[in-house]
C-alpha cells in the first residue's frame, strides 16, 4: 500500500447526527434475567465479564425475572413509582419556572429518574452521597422537602444556601447529600476520602460517588479509582452513562475501552453494568454494591446505562447535535412506563390509578411551588440579603472582609 507508513488521526463519531435515522442496533442488550447474581464476596477476577453485560430485571412483558429480582415489596415498588413521577413533575414545573424567568438555570433528569430514586433506597441512614447535578432523586426519595429544593432553585429568602449557589446545587448533610460543586468529577475522589474516613474510624457508614459518562474522562475519576482500590474503601462508585455529555457523545470519554464499567477492571474493582431505566435492577445492583462496601469487601463500580432524554440544561438545545427522535429509539425505554407496566401486571396498579396519581402529584408540586414563591423568586419578592454574601466564607470573618462589608454598606 502506498500510504502504509502514513499515520491517521482518529476521532470517534456517533452513529448518527441530526437528519439521520437513530440507530442503536450496535448497543447489545442482554435479556432480562440472564446475568447471574454472584455472592458479594466473589473474587473480582471471576466476574470481569459483568463489566460488559447489562443486568436487567424487567423484561419486555413487564415481568421481573432472574436472580436480581424479588428484593422489593409491592408497597416499595409503588413508592418508587411515586418518587420517579414526583421527580419528573418537579422537573417539568421547575423547567417551566426557568422559562418564565423565575430562576436563571435548570437541569432535569428526564429518562434517568430510576437511577437516583432507586439507588437512595439501597442506602442506610448516615451514608453519604457525593452527587452530581442530575441526582435529585436522592433527595426526593429520602423525603427531603420539595419546598426547600425550590427555595434553593429560586435563590429566595428561604434558600438554605442563602442565594450563594447556582440553582439545583443542593446540599443536605442530614439527607446524606453532599454539597454539589459545579466543577465536574472533583467530588468523586472526595467520596472515596469520606469512605476511607469511615473505615479509619471503624464506623459502619458507606459513601456513594457519582459521575456522568463524560466526566469519567477527568483525572479525578482515575484518582478515585486508585484510592478506592488501594485502600479498599467502603464506597459505591457510580457512573451514570446517559450517552451524552452536553453535545459530546459517550464515545469521546469512553474511547476504546468498550464500556465505562470496564474502567474498573484494571484497578481490580468489581465492575457491573446495569439497565439504568429499570428501577428494580438499579435497586438490586445498588444493594449488592452497598452490602459489599458495608461488609469490608471494598469498592464496586456500577455503570448505569440510560439516556438523557431532555436537553443538557436550560441553556442547551440538543437538536443541534443529535436526531430529535433519538430518545424514542432508545432501546431501554422509559423508567416510569416500565415500572408502571410492571405494577399493572402485578395487579396492584392501573392506568386510572396512574392518571389519578399524576394529578395528585401535580397538585402537590404546584402547592409546594406556591409556597416557595411566597418566599420570592430570583428576580422578585424576598431575597437573601447582601450581608449573606460576605458571611459563611470563614468560620470567623477576617478583618478585610469586615471592611469590605462595611464599604458595601450592608
Amino acid at each position: 500500500m502506498a500510504d502504509a507508513g502514513m499515520l491517521r488521526f482518529h476521532v470517534p463519531e456517533p452513529e448518527v447526527r441530526p437528519g439521520g435515522t437513530p440507530d442503536f442496533s450496535n448497543v447489545t442488550i442482554a435479556a432480562a434475567g440472564s446475568v447471574p447474581r454472584p455472592d458479594i464476596d466473589v473474587d473480582p477476577r471471576t466476574i470481569r465479564d459483568m463489566a460488559f453485560s447489562i443486568i436487567r430485571v424487567l423484561n419486555r412483558d413487564g415481568k421481573a425475572v432472574g436472580p436480581w429480582a424479588g428484593l422489593l415489596s409491592n408497597e416499595e415498588l409503588l413508592e418508587g413509582l411515586r418518587h420517579m413521577m414526583t421527580l419528573r413533575t418537579f422537573d417539568a414545573r421547575m423547567q417551566m419556572a426557568q422559562r418564565q424567568g423565575k430562576t436563571s438555570f435548570y437541569m432535569q433528569h428526564l429518562g434517568e429518574e430510576a437511577v437516583s430514586c432507586a439507588f437512595r433506597k439501597a442506602l442506610a441512614p448516615g451514608d453519604m452521597n457525593f452527587p452530581t447535578y442530575r441526582q435529585a432523586g436522592l433527595l426526593i426519595a429520602d423525603g427531603y422537602p420539595m419546598v426547600t429544593m425550590m427555595n434553593q432553585i429560586y435563590s429566595n429568602e428561604a434558600d438554605p444556601l442563602k442565594g450563594r449557589q447556582l440553582p439545583i446545587m443542593y446540599s443536605s448533610k442530614e439527607h446524606g447529600f453532599f454539597s454539589i460543586s459545579g466543577n465536574l468529577a472533583t467530588q468523586y475522589i472526595q467520596a472515596v476520602g469520606w469512605a476511607m474516613a469511615s473505615a479509619i474510624s471503624n464506623d459502619s457508614k458507606i459513601a456513594a460517588a457519582w459521575i456522568g459518562d463524560g466526566s469519567t474522562a477527568e483525572s479525578d475519576f482515575h484518582s478515585a479509582l486508585v484510592f478506592a482500590s488501594t485502600y479498599k474503601a467502603p464506597v459505591v462508585l457510580n457512573v451514570v452513562n446517559n450517552q451524552w455529555a452536553i453535545s459530546t457523545f459517550q464515545g469521546i470519554a469512553r474511547g476504546g475501552s468498550g464500556t465505562f464499567a470496564a474502567r474498573g477492571l484494571g484497578f481490580g474493582i468489581p465492575s457491573l453494568r446495569v439497565d439504568g431505566n429499570d428501577y428494580l435492577a438499579v435497586h438490586a445492583v445498588a444493594k449488592w454494591a452497598a452490602e459489599r462496601a458495608r461488609k469490608n469487601l471494598g469498592p464496586t463500580l456500577v455503570e448505569y446505562v440510560t439516556y438523557r432524554a431532555g436537553a443538557h440544561s436550560s441553556s442547551d438545545d440538543p437538536s443541534a447535535y443529535r436526531p430529535k427522535t433519538e430518545s424514542d429509539a432508545w432501546p431501554l425505554g422509559d423508567p416510569i412506563v416500565r415500572l408502571k407496566n410492571h405494577l399493572i401486571g402485578l395487579g396492584v396498579w392501573s392506568d386510572e390509578r396512574h392518571a389519578q396519581a399524576e394529578a395528585e402529584i401535580l397538585d402537590t408540586v404546584i402547592a409546594a411551588q406556591k409556597e416557595a414563591e411566597s418566599h420570592g423568586t430570583l428576580h422578585a419578592g424576598g431575597k437573601p440579603s447582601t450581608r449573606d454574601m460576605f458571611e459563611g466564607l470563614y468560620a470567623e470573618m477576617p478583618p478585610h472582609l469586615r471592611r469590605q462589608r462595611q464599604q458595601a454598606g450592608v
Partner: protein, 337 residues
C-alpha cells in the same frame, strides 16, 4: 465594514488562522461538531475536518497537556477551556509545563499554544461560571495574558496570540460576547451590530500583544481597566461627569506600562477597576507599578475597585459586580482626595 459579535470575531480569527497556517488546530469540550457551548468554533470542523477541529474528552489537564505535546511537535494548538472556572485541573500543565518549556530546554522546545476561556460574571452563572482568574496567570513567569474588550480587538489579538511563539492565555469576557455591557443590568444591551467597535475587517489583521489603547481621552484622572470593566468605567465617567481618561489594557502581560505612565503623569490620579477579587488581584500589581513610576506626580492615593473577596454569588450577582455606582464613587473620592 462588516459588523460581528465578539463570538463571530473570535471564530473568524480562528478561521483566518486555520486557513493561513495548517499547523493551527482547534479543540476542546464540545468544540467540534457542535462548535462550542458559546458557538465560538461553529463551522470550523465542517470546513477544516476532524483532524484540525475536534471534541476533547472532559479533561482540562488533558486538553492543555496534549496541546503542549502538539506544540512540541510543531503544531499550533488553539484550545478552549469551556469556562475559565474549569481551568484549574489544567493549572499544573500551564504553570509548570507550558510556561517553562522554552526556558528549561533553552529553546530546544517551545510552546506556541493559545488557551481560550470565557471569563467574568454578569450572566447569573454562580460560583463556577463567573470567575476572573487573570491574576493566577499573570503571576506565572512564562505566560502571556490577554483580555479583549470588543470584537475588533478580539479578532486581532487572537490572531496575534496564535502567531505568538509563546503560550498565551486568552480570556474572553463572556458578558461582552453579544454586546458591550456597562453594568446597568436592568437596561437593554446594545448589540455589537450597533456599535462601532463591532466593525471587524475581513481577512487577516493583528492587534499587537502588549499595547494598550485609550478608550476615552480625559485630563482629570486615569482609569485602568480591561474587558467588561472598560464599559463600566465609561458609564461611571459619563454619570459622574468626571473627565476620566480610560485606558483599556487589552494585554495584562506583557503590559503597556508606557501608556499607563504617560496618562497618570498627565492626570495625577489613578483608579484601577477589575471584576476579579481584590486581594492579590491584578490591580495590586498595577497599583504598585503606578506608585513606583508616578509617585511624584500623584495627587491622590491610587484607588482600586474590584469584586469583593468572596466566591461569586448567584442571587447577589449585582451586589457583587463592581458596577457603575461603585466605580463612580471611587472616581469622585479620588477627585476629592
Amino acid at each position: 465594514m462588516p459588523r460581528r459579535t465578539m463570538i463571530e470575531a473570535i471564530r473568524d480569527a480562528m478561521d483566518v488562522s486555520m486557513e493561513r497556517d495548517e499547523r493551527v488546530v482547534v479543540f476542546g469540550e464540545d468544540v467540534g461538531f457542535f462548535g462550542g457551548v458559546f458557538r465560538c468554533t461553529q463551522g470550523l470542523q465542517a470546513k477544516y475536518g476532524k483532524s484540525r477541529c475536534f471534541d476533547a474528552p472532559i479533561n482540562e489537564s488533558g486538553i492543555v497537556g496534549s496541546a503542549i505535546g502538539m506544540a512540541a511537535y510543531g503544531l499550533k494548538p488553539c484550545v478552549e477551556i469551556q469556562f475559565a472556572d474549569y481551568m484549574y485541573p489544567a493549572y499544573d500543565q500551564l504553570t509548570q509545563e507550558a510556561a517553562r518549556l522554552r526556558y528549561r530546554s533553552n529553546g530546544d522546545f517551545t510552546c506556541p499554544i493559545v488557551v481560550r476561556m470565557p471569563t467574568g460574571g454578569g450572566i447569573f452563572g454562580g460560583q463556577t461560571h463567573s470567575q476572573s482568574p487573570e491574576a493566577l496567570f499573570t503571576h506565572v513567569s512564562g505566560l502571556k495574558t490577554v483580555v479583549p474588550s470588543n470584537p475588533h480587538d478580539a479578532k486581532g489579538l487572537l490572531i496575534a496570540a496564535i502567531e505568538d511563539p509563546d503560550p498565551v492565555i486568552f480570556l474572553e469576557p463572556k458578558r461582552l460576547y453579544n454586546g458591550p455591557f456597562d453594568g446597568h443590568h436592568d437596561r437593554p444591551v446594545t448589540p455589537w451590530s450597533k456599535h462601532e467597535l463591532g466593525e471587524v475587517a475581513d481577512g487577516h489583521y493583528t492587534v499587537p500583544l502588549g499595547k494598550a489603547v485609550i478608550r476615552r481621552a480625559g485630563s482629570a484622572l486615569t482609569v485602568l481597566a480591561y474587558g467588561t470593566m472598560v464599559y463600566v468605567a465609561q458609564a461611571a465617567a459619563e454619570e459622574t461627569g468626571i473627565d476620566a481618561e480610560i485606558i483599556d489594557l487589552r494585554t495584562l502581560l506583557p503590559l503597556d506600562l508606557d501608556a499607563i505612565v504617560a496618562s497618570v503623569k498627565k492626570t495625577g490620579r489613578c483608579v484601577i477597576v477589575h471584576e476579579a477579587t481584590l486581594t492579590s488581584g491584578f490591580g495590586a500589581e498595577l497599583s504598585a507599578l503606578v506608585q513606583e513610576t508616578c509617585f511624584y506626580h500623584l495627587e491622590a492615593p491610587v484607588a482600586r475597585v474590584a469584586g469583593w473577596d468572596t466566591p461569586y454569588p448567584h442571587a447577589q450577582e449585582w451586589d457583587y459586580f463592581p458596577g457603575p455606582a461603585r466605580v463612580g464613587r471611587a472616581l469622585i473620592e479620588t477627585m476629592e482626595a
